[in-house]
Symmetry: C2
Subunit: 442 residues, 2 copies
């Protein structure tokens, strides 16, 4: 993975260095954490990709639950419980599922509790599934009491139960939750297979824990390679100096841009299958940095609003806004270096060279030209950006990206002087919702 920013981020190199210097102590702290074996601080999530014990457990359970009959992995979880899994799955398979109807196993995500989706999903279970082995349900809730997740599960479980019986349901279910949560204890009492994530690891930093690793492994994705990518990046982002440390550079740039009023970070992916990776980052940045109070308890209403754009699609949608509109954005372009077997346009064109210079060129060539053209346009308009080039879309490269961004966020939280790992304001709507559900009764 490469990060380019010189001549485009519009930040003085000396300012960048000064900013990075402020992170030296914290980088030392992360470096210490890298050695330890217990998960007793939120930053310990950086040790997940080298945790061989967790990997072994995930593999054993995968072996016991996945057979060739498996067609659908139903991931029931929301927010940190599924966004990382969806990011990796969609990049490798999900984005292509509509045009690969015969490829299995597919993953289906139940997130919110939409009544129409649930109705049609019940029909799917009733009519399309012949054999319980075709299904694997992974119920994921760190707290064990997420309303939508439990409600979705109850509805689906009732349908599954009616069709295949209680024993089949118990067999086709894996529950991932905090050790000793109420859900954990319930699962144990019913003898259901469980996985847990380390208590101190927060939802949005949990993709490389069993939360993400188990469903991804079940889908046939090489989770060892995913973790190797993450481990490599962990080293770069913690041990390296500014010059070769993408997390340090990116955090400092985002911080300095936000200080300069660029409080929207547009993540502009020139690869549509990475949209869900963008949505994973949207939570990571939004929830980690968007805070009413800073770490000293002062009211600040600080934060950076993440947006996800897809190249070249969104040039035809919000390109005008980005190039001409408010100067409130700092852009991260993300592109992919190597695409195997890029399709070429035919020599003899149906449309008789309606568009110049297209004959015999490749789709990859066109995409590269559009990205270059876009960067030139941004430069001419003096819009700040950095560019991340992923070597390819593979489990290894995705692991690199995920780890890079999680460590970037730890640095950024320090620079912004906020509590990176909490989300106090979210409680507010939950409290109100519970009140309403209580008033309404059933």
């Amino acid at each position: 993975m490469d990060l380019h920013y010189k001549n485009s981020a519009r930040i003085e190199e000396s300012t960048l260095k000064e900013t990075a210097k402020k992170l030296e102590e914290y980088r030392g702290y992360l470096s210490q954490i890298m050695g330890i074996k217990v998960y007793d601080a939120p930053e310990c999530s950086i040790n997940l990709p080298v945790d061989q014990d967790l990997m072994a457990v995930v593999k054993v359970i995968k072996k016991s639950k996945v057979t060739k009959a498996l067609k659908y992995i139903i991931v029931i979880g929301i927010g940190g419980s599924n966004l990382g899994t969806k990011a990796v799955y969609d990049a490798l398979f999900g984005a292509f599922d509509p045009i690969e109807p015969m490829r299995f196993p597919k993953m289906i995500f139940l997130e919110t509790c939409d009544p129409q989706y649930l109705e049609r999903f019940s029909d799917f279970l009733k009519n399309q599934i012949k054999n319980p082995e075709e299904i694997l349900i992974n119920l994921i809730s760190k707290s064990g009491t997420t309303t939508e997740t439990v409600a979705n599960f109850e509805i689906i479980a009732a349908v599954f139960n009616e069709k295949f019986g209680d024993e089949a349901l118990h067999d086709r279910l894996v529950i991932t939750t905090d050790e000793n949560s109420k859900l954990w204890n319930l699962a144990k009492s019913k003898n259901i297979t469980t996985l847990h994530l380390p208590h101190d690891v927060g939802g949005r930093y949990s993709v490389l824990s069993p939360v993400g690793l188990f469903p991804l492994a079940a889908a046939g994705i090489d989770i060892e390679s995913l973790c190797e990518g993450a481990a490599t990046m962990r080293k770069n982002c913690i041990e390296n100096d500014l010059e070769t440390n993408p997390a340090l550079i990116s955090a400092a740039l985002l911080f300095l841009q936000a200080q300069a009023g660029k409080t929207i970070n547009d993540n502009f992916f020139f690869a549509p299958q990475l949209e869900s990776l963008g949505k994973w980052y949207r939570q990571l940045l939004g929830e980690s940095i968007g805070k009413e109070q800073d770490a000293d308890g002062k009211t600040v209403h600080d934060g950076i609003t993440p947006t996800v754009s897809i190249g070249s699609t969104d040039l035809h949608s919000v390109g005008q806004l980005y190039l001409g509109g408010p100067l409130d954005k700092c852009t991260t372009f993300i592109s992919v270096k190597i695409v195997p077997n890029p399709m070429h346009l035919p020599k003899e064109q149906f449309t008789d060279n309606l568009v110049e210079k297209l004959a015999n060129t490749s789709a990859q060539n066109i995409m590269e030209a559009i990205l270059e053209g876009t960067k030139m346009a941004y430069s001419k308009k003096e819009l700040p950006f950095m560019e991340i080039v992923m070597p390819e879309i593979s489990p290894f490269a995705l692991g690199e990206y995920l780890q890079f961004k999680m460590i970037e966020m730890m640095y950024l939280g320090k620079l912004m002087n906020v509590e990176t790992f909490n989300q106090p304001n979210v409680e507010l709507y939950k409290i109100e919702t519970r009140k309403i559900l209580k008033q309404r009764g059933t």
Copy 2:
């Protein structure tokens, strides 16, 4: 469709009235346009839903191209050429396609020119399609020279041609473009079925022209009902006074909020199948209002950045940012009043009432409680919002929403004093891209 804003938008009623008064002259202009039969101004798009000639043409071509064998409608287009179609299709079918594998015809969208997607799409054509009648290709480009659209088509056409021959390709292709564009002339010369959209109607206002109506009709969607919804809303939004005119209210609120520094408009849909509707609006708002210069040629870098959020999913993602972060957002909640057959949770729960008050309640009830709880939380934090309640998710209701938003945008453009219907800055990246493609050669 209902719009609620009193007590939540945090704008004085008198200020709102004054702002709306500024639009009286323009409202009169729109009212005049409503009567005419020619399309000689960009605002004439408001006449599309009552254009019986266009409707008739679309129906005739649908009849000639759609048989029971049809399985996939391939929409090749980008930006204004497909976002409206995708909005309606996804709301009714697309969001459920992964769990309704046997429902046809399905729509597939080729937008950007991603090499990996194209490769896998070619495999799909080669391996999954047995008969040319299973496919209908709708190539849509207003100008007729959109790089990505033409490139996608050339690649797909070559594969299709090789498998089924030239004649089959000609038969299974419908081209939608401006009358007398180069593409139009080419299509005519090859005797390919064509549809055109009125020249003065811009891409992002073209969903109710053949651009959207033809593929939607081919997919079996009731386009008459869609247009009836739009026609009803057109009347409300042009003839009614402020009190009962949602476009006028919404435009004035967005304008006043932007003046007050709320330059992000979050469209928070409490129905995941409406995400693409949000993305359609993202172009409409982004491109119509995001302008470097105002209508008098003054450099202003004005605009409102649209974001799309999904309830309740994104409460678990960016809820913390929205409730605690920067005070730069004005929110539009969109919810759906009636959902047929809402699923109920079972009386006897698998998880033994882990979450209180869930037994026997419905998914709809839970979603409503979460939306109410969220609005309460926003109110407590004094965050401005309005709420749109769609009566249901149906072609009629979607037609209402689309027309409401397009007229809202015309009003908003006037209030912001920008040229609502152009997108001058987009040319910049296109010029640079063309230069690069030329330099590189093939």
